[in-house]
Amino acid sequence: MATRATPLTAPGGAPLAGRPRDSIAAWPLADRLGYLTCWAAGIALCLVTAAIVLFMLVKGISYLRPSLLVQSPQGSLDQSKAGGFLDPIVGTLLLTALGTALAAPVGVALAAWLSEYARPAWLARTVESGVEMIAGVPSVVLAIFGLLVFSQGFLSFLSQTSAGGSVFGKSFFAAGGMMSLLALPLIVSSTREALAQIPAHVREASYALGKTRATTIWRVLLPSVRPNIASGVTLGMGRIIGDTAIVVVLLGATLQTEGAGGAPLLSTLRGTGSTLTSYVYTNSPTGEGNAPQKAYAAAFVLLMLVVGLNAIVTRLSNGPRATNAERSPLRRGLRAVRTPWTR
């Protein structure tokens, strides 16, 4: 996108290079107005972003205390005794790990099937539009559907049962399951797009070596699109980290991570908890915690997580490929074909 034939013109109208005739001063008024609007929009975009980032930075730095990161929240009306948000941080990490662990294999498998098999065609087309629909379904709809599903008796082992005998339906399992649906379309589309860009001769080369389709997918195609899978997964993680509705409805948004009893990790996963998003929600005036300073601090930590993930995505999708021609999908694909054969 940097290569543009038309010459760059300085805002004042002085041509930097090329035809001197196309100076902005000579444009009709309407065109000049449009040009100015563009600059205004661009500057406004930068300003809004800067305002948000600075605002959160100031609030975050002024309210974030290291102790908040290591204390569990306590149900106290006195904010100095109400603890920090250790549990929400752990909850966010746990939920993200669970959601990704469910979504990544299924997403990659779906993409591989859609791109390499897709038989019968009608099924492929239906699956495709189904996944696309999921991408557009609001997460609050997924959340209340999840509550319905996980409250069923036969899924009681994924959450807890009240003394009265009915299934609670709120747990890390329930929330993670629905979160995986949130991440799934992103993983499917980025993997699939990358698979589609691998030239046919890579596959042909592999087949010519006597490899089956399955082996080709597993050994050649998937390894060569690994960065795309990774960036899809990271995007998915971003959506999981940022979602609140599913946490509020399906994780219970309880103050502390509360196990359901039994084996340690399993107890936690069957139990309820909170994440940073739900912590921000309940500590904003909307919830009853009503501790805006803690909400700001938690939102700042949440934002830092998002920034970190963003850096990873940028790295995965731009960095190596732009700088290193050796990493082009084609080269990688070819190298991958060679590897099993030479071994």
Partner: protein, 344 residues
């Protein structure tokens, strides 16, 4: 077993020839496993659609499809009555006229997408055509970051910083008293909600529009420039026209996100099932609303109430239908782009 045809017809690109040992056991098993997985995911989606609609049915059938979408009475009062109805046996009441909620959804989404599309088209032209290289290098990651900010953070900023500001500086006493018999104005209102929603959906649109502007084939614009057309006209007539499907696709995606936004809107939209009235002039912009998704999340505690729960599922069903229609529209919008080999 059926032999794999050399180059099946499904899929957009021509298939490679089938592998030499396509008939091996393991290969067929892999295909079957993957296919079954795909069918499983599809089954889950179908199950979701069916259960949500089955749950929602009583709400639609009691009100009638036309009744459900009409206006009439105070929708908050109707929801309130549903909360406690049917708990003592007897017939639960489902009476609902959901128009104020729908209108709130249409207003917030429509205004935000409308403002957003104009703004992000200009911003995208700026990024692609006019921004100096260093600015461009900074702005791209910034846009991506803005798109990744969780909605609850936007909600927090909205309720603690923007709503009080709007209340102090934009709402005069006379404006408040002009509609005080109908509704009360506060910092959380239609304009606050629309403003934040616009900021939320702009990054998606900027990203899509700018990548499609950048993908406009160079010779097209060069040709125009060679004819002596100035740069702005070239962008306006050639680049933007080529990118039009991408702009539509961007609007569709942004609409989907705005429709489904629940948390942020439940925090700053005013939280009242009130049909903001355009006749009120400027005041209209400061009237409270409550879109569908926000209504669901605010009442999510009450999902176990017999009739209110089903009504909430009915709202979810409406949102699902809209999402499906939107993804159809998005698919249709992308078609003309493919003609030029541009992937949106």
């Amino acid at each position: 077993m059926h032999a794999a045809p050399a180059g099946e017809s499904s899929g957009a690109r021509p298939r490679s020839p089938a592998p030499a040992r396509s008939g091996t056991q393991s290969d067929r098993r892999t295909e079957r496993v993957l296919g079954a997985l795909a069918a499983g995911v599809l089954g889950l989606i179908a199950l979701m659609t069916i259960t949500v609609f089955a749950k929602a049915w009583p709400s639609f059938s009691h009100n009638g499809l036309t009744g459900w979408f009409q206006s009439g009475g105070d929708v908050d009062q109707q929801l309130r009555e549903m909360l406690t109805s049917g708990t003592q046996g007897g017939h639960p009441t489902y009476h609902l006229r959901a128009w104020p909620l729908l209108w709130g959804t249409i207003l917030t989404t429509g205004l935000a997408v409308l403002i957003g599309i104009v703004f992000s088209t200009f911003a995208a032209i700026f990024i692609v055509e006019f921004a100096p290289a260093p600015v461009r290098r900074v702005i791209e990651p910034i846009v991506r970051l803005l798109g990744g900010v969780p909605s609850v953070v936007y909600g927090l900023i909205g309720i603690l910083a923007i709503a009080p500001w709007v209340n102090h500086h934009l709402l005069s006493e006379s404006r408040k008293s002009s509609v005080e018999y109908l509704v009360q104005l506060a910092g959380s209102n239609l304009s606050t909600a629309t403003l934040i929603l616009t900021v939320m959906i702009t990054p998606i649109m900027v990203a899509i529009v700018s990548s499609s502007l950048a993908a406009v084939p160079g010779p097209w614009t060069e040709g125009s420039a060679a004819l002596g057309v100035n740069r702005w006209r070239t962008i306006w007539r050639i680049s933007l026209r080529t990118a039009r499907p991408a702009i539509i696709a961007a609007a569709v995606l942004a609409t989907a996100r705005a429709l489904g936004e629940a948390i942020m809107l439940s925090m700053v939209s005013g939280g009242r099932g009130f049909a903001a009235n355009p006749i009120d002039g400027i005041t209209f912009l400061f009237e409270p609303v409550r879109p569908l998704a926000a209504t669901i999340v605010q009442n999510s505690e009450a999902l176990s109430a017999p009739s209110l729960g089903r009504t909430l599922y009915a709202m979810a069903a409406v949102l699902m239908v809209s999402a499906a229609l939107l993804s159809l529209a998005g698919w249709a919008a992308k078609q003309p782009l493919k003609r030029y080999g541009i992937r949106a």
